[in-house]
Subunit: 426 residues, 2 copies
Amino acid sequence: MLNPKIKIAIAGVGTVGKGLIDLLLKYKNKQTKIEITAIASRRKQEFKGGIFRNTVFFSDAKKLLKFHNYDILVELIGGEKGVSKDIVFNALREKKNVVTANKALVSKFWNQLHSLMEKNNCLLKYEAAVAGGIPIIKVIDEFLLSNKITKIYGILNGTSNYILSNMLSYNKDFKDILSEAQRLGYAESNPKFDIDGTDTAHKLSILSSLAFECYNNVSKIDNEGIENVDLQDLEIADSLGYKIKLLGITELNNKNINNFVYPCLLSKDSFIAKIDGVYNGIVVESNFCKKSCFVGEGAGAHPTATSVLSDIISLSKKRKNCFKQSFKFSYQETSLQSRFGSYYLRFTTYDKPGVISGIANQFKTFNISMKSMLQKETEIGNSKDATIVITTHNCFESNMMKALKKINRLNFIRKKTVYFRIENFK
Amino acid sequence: MLNPKIKIAIAGVGTVGKGLIDLLLKYKNKQTKIEITAIASRRKQEFKGGIFRNTVFFSDAKKLLKFHNYDILVELIGGEKGVSKDIVFNALREKKNVVTANKALVSKFWNQLHSLMEKNNCLLKYEAAVAGGIPIIKVIDEFLLSNKITKIYGILNGTSNYILSNMLSYNKDFKDILSEAQRLGYAESNPKFDIDGTDTAHKLSILSSLAFECYNNVSKIDNEGIENVDLQDLEIADSLGYKIKLLGITELNNKNINNFVYPCLLSKDSFIAKIDGVYNGIVVESNFCKKSCFVGEGAGAHPTATSVLSDIISLSKKRKNCFKQSFKFSYQETSLQSRFGSYYLRFTTYDKPGVISGIANQFKTFNISMKSMLQKETEIGNSKDATIVITTHNCFESNMMKALKKINRLNFIRKKTVYFRIENFK
C-alpha cells in the first residue's frame, strides 16, 4: 500500500533548513515520497536537479501566501511575528498542515493556533521547537497520554549548558567561554535569548501547555538567565557537592502551575546535573511511569532537522506499520570471539614467586598488553592466597580466551580466573 | 471528528494486565472510546459493571480463537509458544491488529510475524516488549527513521540492575540481594531469564532487528548473565573507577552486526553507569542525532501498561492532532514569590565583628534557617573582604527576598549579595 506523494513548501533555509535538506537528500523511504514544491529563502541557494527539479524558488517568503501547491508548510524562519507568523496562520486558514521549529510563535499563539486547527481540521506539529534531538513532544503527546504528568524539568538550552559546563571545566569566565561558543557555532552572534532564559521560557511554556492541557502564557513566566553566574559560584557550588544548571521547571501544585526558569544548584548525584556540554536533558514525572529521562543534543542542524522530518513523515504516511516495510539489509552476525576490546581479570593464585611472569608470558604469546595491575594478599585458613587484578588494553576475545585457558592450567592458579569485559562508552 | 469505539480483547491478566486495567479505569480520552469486549484469564477476576459491562470472560485464552468481536487483540500472557503464540498468529491471520508485551514471541518469530502483517495489511505493535516505561520502539521507528543508527546499547533488565546496584550499595552477596528483590517484587519467583541474560537478549534482538532492518535471530546471540558476579569484583571495579552493569549491545560494523549480552565494566563517568536500581537506560547512536539517551522504569505493571495503552491508542485513533482536543483544566499560574525551597547565598562583606550576627538576625526575622556556612578571606587591594557562603533550609522566596533587601543595606555589606536557588531533584 503505497501512499501518495507528499508536497512540502520550505520557508527558510538557515541552519535547520539546510539540515533538513541534507536529510531529505539522504532519506530513502519506499513508502513516502516527499516532493519539495517550493523553497523560500533570502539567500540565493544552489539547489539544482534531483529532488529540486520541480521546486519553485522564492526570495521572499511572503510569496508563499499566494502559493498553493503544497500539502505541508515547513516553517523554519523563526520569530513570533512578521512573515513567519503570517505564512503559518495563512496555511492553517487554508486547511494545510504545518510543521515548524518556531518556539516563539508556538508558545505565544498556542490558543489561536489550536483554535484554528480545531476549526479547520488540520494540524500544526512542532517537535523541533523543543529540544531538537529529543522527541519530547511525541513522548508527552503519544506515549504518556494515559498518565497524569505532575512535573517536567530540565536543561532546555544547549548554549547555556555549554557555557556553564565549560566555565568550570576550563576555569574561565563567562565572557571567555561565550566567545569560544560563538566561534564554535554553539552560540548565536546575538546570544541574548539563549543566555537570558527567554529561549528556555518559550520551550517550557510549550511543554507546560501540552502536559497540563492548559495554555501557559510565556510572558507570565519569570525567567532569569546565566549572565550573572560567576566562576567563583560554580567553584564554591562544586566544593559543596553541587552543579549550577539553567533549568526550566513546570509543576502541578494542586490547582496551581509553577513555571520557573533560573540557574540553580543541583546535587552532583542528581540525574540532570550529569548532563554537560551542548546536551539537553528532560525529566518527566508522572503518576504511572514515575520518572522518565531523556537526553540528546538540543540544538544543531541535524538533530533539529530529524525532528522536523519526523513530523513531516508522521503527517504524510498512514502509519501502516511499526515494522519497516523492507528488510533491505543483509548483515553477517558475529560471535563474541570477534570482539576487540579490553578486559578485567581477577586471578587467585598461591602467593609465591613466578606468578606474574607466568601470566605475563601467556599474555605475550597471545599479544595481550597489560594496562594496570593490583595485587593483594588474602588469608584463607592457613594458606596465603594472592589476588591479582589486571586490566588490559584492547585485544581480540579469541586471544584472551586462549590465554586464559593456558593460564588456568598453570600450577600456581588456585581458582578459575574471573574475567569481565570493559566497555569504553562515554 | 470523533472516532468510532475501539474494541479490545485482553488475553492474560497478570501484572501487566492488571496495570492496563488500572489505566483503562483512569483513562478518559474524549476521542477514543475503548471497549473491552473480552478478557481471558485463568484466575477468576472481579470485574463488574462500568467498563466491563459488555465484557465476555473466558477462563481459557484458547477460547479467543473462536471469538471475533474485537479490533485489537492485547496479548499479555507471554512466552514464545503455546496459547500466546496461537492467539497472536490467529488474530493476524484474521487481519486483526495486535498489541503485545511478549518479547520472547516477537524476537523469535520476527520474520513470520512481519510477513503475516505485510500479507494481511494489519499491525502488531510491541512497545511494551522492550523497556516498558521507555518509548524506545517509537523513538527508533518514528523519530530516528531518517537517521542511520549505528549502535544501541543499554541496561535492558531492571532485575539485574537492581541486584548489581544493591550488592555494592549494601555490601551483600548476590543471593541475599536476589532474595530481597523477590520479596519486593523486583524479581520473579523464577528469575532465571532475568539474571542469565536471556531476557536482555530477547529485547536486544528486537532493537537490533528494528534498527538495522534485518532479522537478528535471538538464538544466535551469545549471552552471559550476572550469576557469577562476585561482590569482590564489584568492589575492586569500584576502586578502579568502574561499575559493573549487564549490558545488551548491538552495533553495525561494516557488513557485520555485533550483538552482545554480558556484564561488563563501565567507567563511572559514562552515562549508562549512572543508571542504578530498577531503572533501564538505553543509548542510541545515529549519524544525524549522534547520541540520544533514554531512562525509565523498565518493568513494573504501570510503566509497561503505559506502553501497551500507547500502542492501543495509536492503532485506534486517527492521529488527528498533536495538540490535545480540549483544554479542560484551568490552573492558576504562580509567581516565583511563592516558591518554597532552599537557597545558596554568597555575601561579600568587610572582615569585621558582627557580620554573622547581622545576617543571622535578618534570617530570624524572616523565618529562614541556615543549613551550612563557609567563610573565607579575600584580599582586594589593601582592604580585606570576607566571602561568606550560606546554604539554607527551605523557606519562602518572598521571605528570602525581603531578608536580602534588608541585608544588602547593612553597613558591612560590600557588594550586592549573590543568590541561587537549590533544587533537590534526584
